[in-house]
Symmetry: C2
Subunit: 745 residues, 2 copies
């Protein structure tokens, strides 16, 4: 099956759907982001679900070059691949490192084959909607349908007459961790454990288990397990006729342990038969996986579960209603909003239990314990979107961060299923906490949060969040000696975190801290090199890194000063001190020119976080706001598409999507921890945000614009009918505005 | 530590013990059989215990040439080895194939090291008594003591001041199966699973788990797990700085799964400290392992457990009391009796649960479910000893065989922990059942047993117990085409099984079967070749295998006609038809001459089963009985010693030991399924067998002989004072004899 065909099917669905009254949920195209390294997948998932039933098509030479073992590949599904080897039940969406992609289920027909290269198949008739995925497995003539609750994947296998098998393959997976155990409990139930971890090929000592229970609507005629053991060498190998060969163990009811194992249910059908399979998952225990399965799906049919999933998604997506504008933009918008509601996702079981950070003791929570905190990405906009539209979720996310602090002694950086992967640089959690608090979402222990922020800001020794802090505090920046990767970037990140602390300190009446951290927050200025009008790494002795090429570092090229970027992509990432940067550069004009250079010289990278606020920075210079409007619109049209490659790149757990959601609404939280939005032309003529009255006074905020093919630039802005003479609007004002109106020209 | 030193220590213990009134238990030297491939081990075990805490000294190059990975090695302990890497908690005794030898615990001191080659050590001050083992780990300065209940190993580690560790290594093991899972439950408890199986490098698809729970008397200061993952190759390996390296996971409380994993408890002691560790085992579940631990040891101290183990052993060993004779012979006798009370061993948990054959569903038993049925060995004498001295155990063993039949559809051949290893040839279970029943032990379902025996005797297709049965039934023998290994041996084995059916049929009044199987039982005669006066393989067309060398096949050399032996070692293995064989050979004199030839030509193998009844066959020829007495005495003196190499070879789960027990008592069950004993000179002047009055009418049987340096040959035999003019005595007569007296000359 090739790409255009898939797209056609999606379009077909959208076209058909359009005849009825379309709901937000009907606009979502889960194929968006499944190519171009977007690393989203089209499998069903509940809002912030623990489980996601993704087609798995990244194993086997048929999928080269996008094959999981031949390269760095961080998704269970690639749209242009064609060889499917199962459906994985725990997956990450929009991440850059291989992890999860395990508990692979696969329906097959004919004789029992347990090697995925043998039973793998091409597929066709692929359909993906919110909470629903379906395809047809060509080799096996099996139609597959899947949906999901928060913690349970539910699949329907339409088998033809004859021999049929359902495989649970625990050897195969996207993660590079191995090790599993499995046990057939009865002809209708299988339970097991799979080891996952080593996200970004790092911290293998925090590898961890994911537990599952699989239930089948039909009792198997035969069942069993298989194991491919490690191949022996040496004297013993001579006597082992079975050395390294896969062994099948029919009827076996005890636990089987190994790296490459699986379990199967076998049937022989006299007529075409549907088997429904439910897989409950837990990060605590098999017992909890079973309880999750029972509590979330016990008496419900596939169709009921699907209907509930869809209704729940719709209620979330409907928090923002859009009218006017292009149909395609509505698809882009709701799909982006959908992507922001996947991660952070749910870690705790229905009974509230979840694993403690690192040691994995069993703890219990009242609220949702969220996980998958890719904070280097999400501190920039995703949490700001949550604070505005889903403040209860955002509050629980902050509470989860504080649980992580309680458990590990540190706030999260890149937390994943109760492990701290310490991926990327900076100390971003505090930025999110400050931003949240300053927006009036205060139902969490702010003193504890503040202490946690101060701890990582001040502790010199053994500080996992701020490596290089000694130099940072002494010199104001990290040097090329402090770190061989990203001395400038890291300095900037610490500056932003310090700015967040300062803002929070101010709000909490901690004047000394406010002063101290306000000062620390602008130390990046010492890295500003007038020669290039850009930031530049300094050596340990204070001298500039020489020779110096500000272009180097793009496209993940190794760079001493910048991580995942170069001087162009980072120099403006000091939004909290844009005025200061402007002065360093020589004023508004020089600033605007240099900013324009980034785009003109092709240095702007829409796919990576450091520069994603850049298009909005023109707003800081009076009279240049049109450039923001033009650039944002252009970027939305260029990089965001109703297509598999419709994301600029990795979705970064929803950060790229959050950028689109805000940008299409005409507001953007340009400066994290500063509760303001900056303004651009919206993509719809009317946007209604239904506010959560537990947190906000107004029931809704409406954004209106006289959008048309002719009217694209903002002429004037009004708030509740009163003229608003700024391209910035404070959060407080916005959520009480009721109506934000743009007059376009 | 070298061999002589160890022996001296044992001798020392025996000498000291001799001063007090010595009980049977005090005569046992568990080092006997730990060299010369006896494959017993000196670790503590309860009577027919599931658990056995064996020092494990077969890993690491220090132990070459008797190193487990460099050769076929079937024991966790070799007396002459010196490098110890732990204490394994489930082990087989006296078997010829590597299996079990897992759940390895090891106390170490200093920094935590988890590679057995690093923490392994020499040892000294080795002591082994019934139910007790102790040594001193030279490198770690730790004295280890161990004892055991039926299902729990109990160890005492005497740590010096300083850092101490207790490792549970689930990677290392004697078995060639791999795969384990482990979880630290608390600072005083670890639970886990280890995969075992593939006995004799065969039937890997029946590999199975053994579960354990380890409890520690002191809470660990630190604990954790380790894992050495499989080494990756290819693109991904580049990014894995940790590729293939062992990782330690301190404080980790979730389950860890893998081939090479373990768990540790760490301490820091201010003064020398004793930590007691109990490891409960189960073949059903972790929960059962925990229950076994609690029920069997909960409130008892090490010393109490040891005292109970010793008392229980003594009560079993005291069923036979010996007086007079050499002290050394008492050591040999009681150690042999001890070895017959190890296997078959206990499979069920304290709650009665045990795994079903092959599929491992959980079943429940009222009586003991025994396991480790090495029936090709034990049908010859071990079960006869049980029937005479421990008839309740023998009855339960038969019941266990019938459970195996119920569960698998077939009687056992070489059953091991609910797997049928199908090792060796023949269909021996029925011989044991018939022998038992014909001795008056009838409290089992004889009709079911009979059906089971008939099934394997008659079923042509898919018969796992009697491969080649079609030729056997059609031609009377297997041919060189039927099997490439042991066509003659197998024919002989089937003959003996058929003889057993015939005898049982007769007893049950099944006359037709009696006739039919009596005829079948002597079909070996067709393989008698007058040219050699020995048995000889026939080809498919009836011709003799040519060329033919009757010597070939000894010492495990490949032989078309005979398994583990040659024509000399097998030709007389038709004791049920010794008269028939005699006729074939040309009468009593020719028979005696040919039998004497076996010994004179050095063809007699004391270490393997087929010919172990040979020394007794002289008794079948009037006037030649002195040869039996001379030969048996000589073999006992030559091959059985109070020394590590004090068994003729592999103990064959007690068969070699049972030979010694009977032979030293002056009676031998020469013809399986024929309830008679033949007679030789006993090694003691008075032997008292305390009979079980639930099965026998008399409370005891006394065997007396006027033994002296001068009196070695039997002059006359009397039963209860009445002259007995035969060197054979029926079981029935013996158990009612009260006194069997030999007048020696």
């Amino acid at each position: 099956m090739n790409l255009p065909c898939k797209i056609v099917l999606v379009m077909l669905f959208l076209t058909i759907g359009a005849k009825a009254q379309k709901k937000p949920v009907d606009y979502v195209n889960p194929f968006i982001g499944t190519s171009n390294f977007g690393t989203t997948n089209p499998g069903p998932i509940a809002v912030r679900g623990m489980v996601n039933v993704s087609p798995f098509n990244v194993a086997g030479p048929e999928n080269l070059p996008l094959e999981k073992d031949s390269r760095w590949l961080s998704t269970p599904y690639v749209h242009e691949n064609s060889f499917l080897t199962g459906f994985s039940h725990v997956n990450l969406s929009g991440v850059g490192c291989p992890e999860l992609g395990v508990i692979l289920a696969m329906p097959t027909t004919g004789a029992l084959k347990v090697n995925h290269l043998d039973y793998g198949t091409t597929y066709s008739e692929e359909v993906s909607k919110v909470g629903y995925y379906s395809n047809f497995l060509d080799k096996h003539k099996v139609k597959v349908e899947a949906t999901a609750t928060t913690r349970v994947g539910v699949s329907k296998y339409h088998f033809p007459k004859g021999e049929a098998n359902i495989l649970i393959n625990l050897g195969l997976g996207l993660t590079n961790e191995q090790g599993a155990s499995v046990k057939v409990v009865s002809p209708t139930e299988i339970e097991g454990v799979r080891t996952v971890g080593s996200f970004c090929y790092y911290k293998p000592e925090e590898a961890y288990p994911v537990y599952f229970v699989a239930r089948f609507s039909q009792a198997a005629k035969e069942f069993g397990v298989w194991k491919k053991p490690t191949t022996y060498k040496g004297a013993e190998a001579e006597w082992m006729g079975y050395n390294g060969k896969t062994r099948k163990m029919p009827g076996y009811k005890a636990v089987v342990v190994g790296d490459s194992i699986g379990s199967y249910m076998r049937y022989k059908f006299d007529e075409p038969t549907v088997v429904e399979m439910k897989i409950g998952v837990s990060y605590v225990s098999i017992e909890n996986a079973r309880e999750n399965l029972e509590k979330e799906t016990s008496t419900r049919t596939f169709d009921q579960i699907l209907a509930e999933a869809k209704a729940n998604w719709n209620s979330y997506l409907s928090k923002i209603e859009v009218e006017g504008g292009q149909e395609e933009d509505k698809v882009k918008f709701y799909t982006a909003l959908y992507h922001t509601l996947i991660h952070p996702s749910t870690l705790n079981d229905v009974n509230g239990e979840y694993p403690k950070m690192k040691t994995r003791d069993v703890l219990k929570t009242e609220d949702t314990r969220y996980t998958v905190f890719s904070l280097w990405d999400t501190y920039r906009n995703l949490h700001q979107l949550m604070s505005l539209v889903y403040p209860k979720q955002q509050s629980d996310m902050v509470k989860s961060m504080l649980q992580i602090y309680d458990e590990s002694g540190w706030l999260p950086k890149w937390e994943l299923n109760a492990t701290e992967t310490t991926t990327m640089v900076g100390d971003p959690a505090g930025i999110v906490i400050a931003d949240t608090y300053l927006k009036g979402i205060t139902d969490f222990d702010i003193e504890k949060a503040y202490s946690a922020m101060i701890k990582s800001a001040d502790q010199i020794e053994g500080n996992p969040l701020r490596p290089g802090i000694k130099d940072y505090l002494e010199k104001g920046y990290l040097t090329t000696k402090t770190t061989n990767s990203g001395s400038v970037s890291t300095t900037q990140e610490y500056n932003i975190s310090d700015y967040a602390i300062a803002q929070l300190a101010k709000s909490l009446g901690k004047k000394e801290d406010y002063k101290r951290f306000s000062k620390r927050a602008i130390s990046y200025r010492k890295l500003f090199d007038k020669e290039y009008n850009l930031l530049r790494p300094r050596n340990d002795d204070g001298s500039w890194l020489t020779p110096y090429n500000p272009e180097s570092g793009a496209n993940f090229e190794k760079n001493l000063g910048f991580i995942e970027g170069n001087a162009w992509q980072y120099s403006f990432m000091v939004v909290h001190d844009t005025k200061g940067l402007m002065r360093l550069m020589g004023g508004g004009k020089a600033f605007t020119d240099r900013l324009q250079d980034v785009f003109d010289k092709g240095q702007y990278d829409m796919a990576n976080e450091p520069d994603i606020a850049y298009p909005y920075l023109f707003n800081y210079v009076k009279g240049q706001e049109g450039r923001t409007q033009e650039k944002v619109s252009e970027l939305l049209d260029t990089y965001y598409k109703n297509a598999a490659d419709g994301l600029p790149g990795n979705d970064d757990t929803g950060t790229m999507s959050a950028w689109a959601v805000f940008s299409m609404m005409g507001i953007y939280p340009v400066s994290p921890a500063n509760p303001i939005y900056t303004i651009t032309t919206p993509k719809f003529s009317k946007i209604t945000i239904h506010l959560d009255t537990d947190y906000y006074q107004q029931e809704k905020l409406t954004i209106q614009a006289n959008l048309s093919e002719m009217n694209k630039r903002i002429q004037s802005i009004s708030v509740q009918g009163k003229s608003h003479n700024s391209y910035f609007i404070p959060h407080d004002k916005l959520v009480n505005a009721k109506l934000l109106e743009f007059k376009l020209k």
